[in-house]
Amino acid sequence: DTAVSQTPKYLVTQMGNDKSIKCEQNLGHDTMYWYKQDSKKFLKIMFSYNNKELIINETVPNRFSPKSPDKAHLNLHINSLELGDSAVYFCASSQVSVGTSSISGANVLTFGAGSRLTVL
C-alpha cells in the first residue's frame, strides 16, 4: 500500500496548456509539500500545507496553484505551461512541519515517486 501516491507519473503537454498533478497520502500526516526537481537533480521546495492551510509559499510563479481539499490530499495546478516548467515534481508529507523541532523524527519527509512533466 503506497504511502504517498502521485498521479500521473508522466505528463507530456504543449506550451500554454493547463495541467494538474494529484497527491494523496495514507500516513495520517498533518503536513504536505510540493517540491520541484530540475534537470540537475536539485530539489526545491515550492509549497507546504499544514492541515489544509498554506504555510509555505516560496517564490513560485502564480501560474502554480496548490489546493488541499483535506489533509490527506494536496494537488498542484499549473496554468499556461512554459518550457521551463519541465521537471519532476515530488509530493511529500511529514507528521509535523519540518520547521518544527522534533527529536522523535516526526518531521521526516516521506516522498512520492514523482511526476515527470515535459512541456513541448
Binding site: 537533480k41 515530488f90 511529500a92 523541532s101 521526516v108 516522498f111
Partner: protein
C-alpha cells in the same frame, strides 16, 4: 538565507573502497539535519536525522555524523547496491546531492 552545499558532486568508488560525503550548512536555528537516498526514477528515501553536534547514526554500511557547520556521510566497504544519489537537507532546504557509483 539558509544554504546547504554538498561535495563532491559525483563519486566513483570500487567495491570495498570506503569514502565520505560532505554536507555543509548555514541555517538559522537548525531543526534537524537529514540524509536521504534517491535511486533513479524514485523519490528520496529517508536515511538519518541528526539534531546536535557530536551526534552519530549508523545503518549497515552508512554512518552519519554532525558538527556545528557540517555533516558527513561515511560509506564503509560499499557495495554496488549503495549506488545512488545521496541528498542532505537542513529543514526544507536540500543540497544538490552527491551521485555515488560503486563498481564491482
Amino acid at each position: 538565507e539558509d544554504q546547504v552545499t554538498q561535495s563532491p558532486e559525483a563519486l566513483r568508488l570500487q567495491e570495498g573502497e570506503s569514502s565520505s560525503l560532505n554536507c555543509s550548512y548555514t541555517v538559522s536555528g537548525l531543526r534537524g539535519l537529514f540524509w536521504y537516498r534517491q535511486d533513479p526514477g524514485k523519490g528520496p528515501e529517508f536515511l538519518f536525522t541528526l539534531y546536535s553536534a557530536g551526534e552519530e547514526k549508523e545503518k549497515e554500511r552508512l554512518k552519519a555524523t554532525l558538527t556545528k557547520k557540517e555533516s558527513f556521510l561515511h560509506i564503509t566497504a560499499p557495495k554496488p547496491e549503495d549506488s545512488a544519489t545521496y541528498l542532505c537537507a537542513a529543514g526544507l532546504q536540500f543540497g544538490a546531492g552527491t551521485q555515488v557509483v560503486v563498481t564491482p
